[in-house]
């Protein structure tokens, strides 16, 4: 069961929380709010990702936590103490920026040693810490280089080492892998996650890349329009999206308009656009009106000869067929004008051509009723 309303302060016991956002609002012009009513607890030791399209308020939230923006209203508590008036240098939070923000006029070792001098660590002690931090990201040998002499991935590691060297309890990351190519990005995702787990630090990570969020996170907060749409672990988020935005933002989803007719054995019964009846899993209350059914392309299959009781069955006309190696994508026109995408294992697929009639089915448990 997964309601968007479940995202409440009560869901997390306050003692677990390293960071608490309490009714935080942020506006730059006094009219439009970039962040509206944010309530969020970050648990000690967790990897929390703020995921959302640009302009959804996730980066502003991160900047407020880092101390670079001040909330217009509300409070941010770090370790139980309000910090919204504390400047960044007093918060002891590690921050990894989008373009690394390494200091080009310093060597790698000087970059990593930078935060130490403000904590009274100098000389041999500082050297040891720098060596240890660079060792953690396998860059011991490059301490004398300048950032410009390093590859993008190496710069990323230096930024990480610099944010970790002073052992902050919280590390924030603002789309740190955005500038890397796909392969390197995937390797760094795993490395960052391993580092976070082994050091036991709390990380708050901002990205607009959903696969990155799914790979790395303990929990994901999906941002849209200045609000958290859903806060959940990756599996729940993917399988049980709580609203249409989350359903379409995470992975691919068919969202089909329907009307709620009633309930039957814990399932909602709805009427689709062409008048046919569907059953769908439903968390939401409500008894009528315009709703939608969401179903993922991989959960739609070709219908067998006989109808199965737990399956919704529908027919349509094939509009496009794409061969994608391990699977085929069918674009099917059904329900009187809706386009439905189905992802079907390639070997099982009879040769289809645009214009063919096709019968499809989907498990009722994988059809989810959402508010329109």
């Amino acid at each position: 069961m997964n309601f968007s309303q479940r995202v409440s302060v009560a869901a997390d016991r306050p003692v677990d929380a390293l960071v608490r956002f309490e009714d935080v609002k942020k506006s730059y012009d006094g009219i439009n709010f970039v962040v509206k009513d944010l309530n969020l607890n970050v648990r000690r030791g967790e990897f929390l990702t703020m995921l959302g399209p640009s302009g959804s308020g996730k980066t502003t939230t991160l900047m407020m936590l880092g101390g670079f923006e001040r909330p217009t209203l509300g409070h941010i508590l770090l370790d139980g103490k309000p910090v919204e008036r504390l400047p960044p240098e007093k918060r002891n939070i590690g921050f990894v920026f989008q373009n690394y923000a390494l200091f080009p006029h310093m060597t790698v070792a000087e970059n990593v040693a930078f935060p130490l001098r403000y904590r009274g660590i100098t000389g041999v002690a500082a050297k040891d810490k720098v060596r240890e931090a660079l060792g953690r990201v396998s860059l011991e040998a490059l301490g004398d280089r300048r950032p410009a002499q390093l590859s993008g991935g190496q710069q990323q590691r230096v930024a990480l080492a610099r944010a970790l060297v002073f052992e902050p309890s919280l590390v924030l990351m603002d789309e740190p892998l955005g500038a890397l190519d796909k392969q390197l990005r995937e390797r760094m995702q795993i490395e960052i996650k391993q580092l976070q787990t082994s050091l036991g630090i709390t990380m708050v990570y901002v990205t607009h890349d959903q696969s990155e969020a799914l790979t790395m996170s303990d929990r994901i907060a999906v941002f849209h329009d200045g609000r958290i749409q859903q806060l959940a672990d990756p599996e729940t988020l993917y399988n049980e999206p709580s609203n249409r935005f989350v359903a379409s933002f995470i992975g691919e989803n068919n969202t089909l308009p329907c009307t709620l007719l009633g309930r039957e054995g814990g399932m909602a019964v709805v009427r689709m656009g062409d008048g046919s009846k569907f059953k769908a899993a439903a968390d939401i209350s409500g008894t009528g009106g315009d709703m939608s059914v969401s179903v993922r392309p991989e959960n739609i299959g070709l219908a067998g000869q006989d109808g199965r009781p737990d399956f919704n069955r529908f027919g349509g006309k094939v509009r496009d067929v794409f061969f994608l190696g391990d699977h085929m994508r069918l674009s099917v026109e059904a329900f009187g004008g809706e386009f439905v995408t189905a992802r079907i294992p390639a070997r099982r697929l009879r040769p289809f051509a645009p214009g063919d009639d096709v019968a499809l089915e989907c498990n009722v448990a994988e059809c989810r009723l959402l508010e329109a």
Binding site: G66, G67, F68, P87, P88, E89, R91, N92, I93, G94, F95, F97, Q98, N99, A101, L102, F103, P104, H105, F114, P115, Y118, R119, R162, A163, F166
Partner: protein
């Protein structure tokens, strides 16, 4: 040569041939500018160098005398043949009216020589027969002096270091050794030092005033930054002469600044602002400000805002973050801006002439005086060469100190 090598050469030639039209097109596009630079920049500099070292007067006016002097021992009074040759040369000089040129040239090195050459030419014109020696010495004692004759002999060379040495307050003794110019004649090192000092002062002030402005321009909202940029650029679009004249109006004894100071009771009597070094430096600083600001601004704009944020997140306070992370990264712009202002300030001419005092005139003013009033183009060119040399030396020094990649003029 193997067949493979020949193949490789053929390919190379084919590539070059294929690219030839593109190369020609690129060159022909640049051709007008190259031609213009040759005419307007390279040629004048070459002419300047030739003028600074050229020494045609004595060779052209006294060819026979110079031949006759070849066997002279250099320490005693020359013998009769030299004077006979001098008489013959001066006779022709009188006819061609070139004696004055020679007189002027020799006068630079021995004062009084101008009138002596002219009267000797007049006398030579009337002389029919020798002996000439007594007659020249009778006309003026200098014609017997070995020092005068060594100067004449030395100036028989096509090129002379005289102008350059003079511009550096040095002179050649009759025996050829270098010596300092006597006190009242030695003005040029003083002028050069003053030029460097004023240029340095102007550079320092433009940096102190311009650096914060460049920073504010970088962080200001777009609309505000646009207006500020206009204010920085506006003086640049106004004629130098107009701006300098405006400072004359402001700085004069009955000008706005004095009135203001009196009204505020900061001073009880009028302060001499115009025709002083304060006036020169103030006006020059104002005129040079955009040249310092723009390179600094362009470098500051290229520094991401996350640099300061990163420093803050790592524990640096606002001022520590600025000085340890931001300021070092602006260095290329600071060096470029200062270099530009310093080098341009070295060549200032109108502004010191209009608002500076008599003791604030810079090298360029002297160059102008020698060209326009004294018609001593050689010395003007000599001073020009010194200025060019100092400018190049400073540029190279900066290059060595900070590295070519650290100077961003664009």
């Amino acid at each position: 040569m193997s067949a493979v090598d020949i193949d490789r050469i053929n390919v190379f030639m084919a590539v070059r041939k294929a690219e030839r039209p593109a190369r020609r097109a690129a060159f022909s596009l640049a051709l007008p500018l190259i031609a213009f630079l040759v005419v307007a920049f390279v040629a004048p500099i070459l002419y300047l160098l030739v003028t600074a070292f050229g020494n045609p007067e004595t060779r052209e006016v006294l060819p026979r005398t110079l031949v006759a002097l070849e066997n002279w021992d250099g320490t005693s009074t020359p013998e009769e043949p030299v004077y006979a040759a001098l008489a013959a040369d001066l006779k022709i000089a009188k006819d061609n009216s070139t004696a004055a040129l020679l007189g002027k040239r020799l006068n630079y090195e021995i004062s009084g020589m101008r009138s002596r050459v002219l009267s000797a030419a007049r006398m030579a014109d009337k002389l029919e027969t020798g002996p000439y020696k007594e007659k020249f010495i009778g006309l003026h004692q200098d014609w017997a002096s070995p020092d005068v004759w060594s100067v004449i002999k030395r100036n028989g060379a096509s090129f002379t270091p005289y102008y350059l040495l003079t511009a550096l307050d040095l002179q050649q003794a009759p025996d050829g050794s270098l010596e300092r110019t006597a006190g009242d004649q030695a003005i040029f090192l003083d002028v050069l030092g003053r030029t460097l000092f004023v240029a340095g002062l102007v550079t320092l002030f433009t940096l102190l005033l311009g650096y914060p402005v460049a920073y504010v321009l970088t962080i200001a909202p777009k609309a505000v930054a646009g207006i500020m940029m206009l204010m920085v650029l506006l003086p640049l679009w106004t004629s130098l002469l107009v701006r300098t004249t405006a400072w004359v109006v402001l700085l004069q004894s009955d000008g706005i600044i004095n009135d203001l100071l009196m009204a505020l009771h900061l001073t009880s009597e009028k302060i001499q602002l115009i025709f002083t070094r304060i006036g020169t430096v103030t006006a020059m600083t104002h005129i040079q400000l955009p040249f310092t600001i723009l390179p600094i601004y362009s470098v500051m704009r290229s520094i991401p805002t996350t640099q300061l944020r990163a420093a803050r997140s790592l524990g640096a306070g606002p001022s520590s973050a600025f000085w340890r992370v931001y300021a070092p990264q602006t260095l290329p712009g600071v060096v470029a801006g200062c270099l530009m202002t310093f080098i341009l300030s070295l060549g200032y001419y109108i502004t010191p002439a209009l608002v500076g005092g008599p003791r604030d005139q810079m090298v360029s003013n002297f160059i102008s005086v020698y060209i326009n009033r004294d018609l001593n183009w050689g010395l003007a060119a000599g001073l020009g060469v010194v200025l060019l040399g100092v400018t190049l030396a400073i540029y190279l020094l900066f290059l060595r100190l900070v590295g070519a990649d650290k100077i961003k003029l664009g």
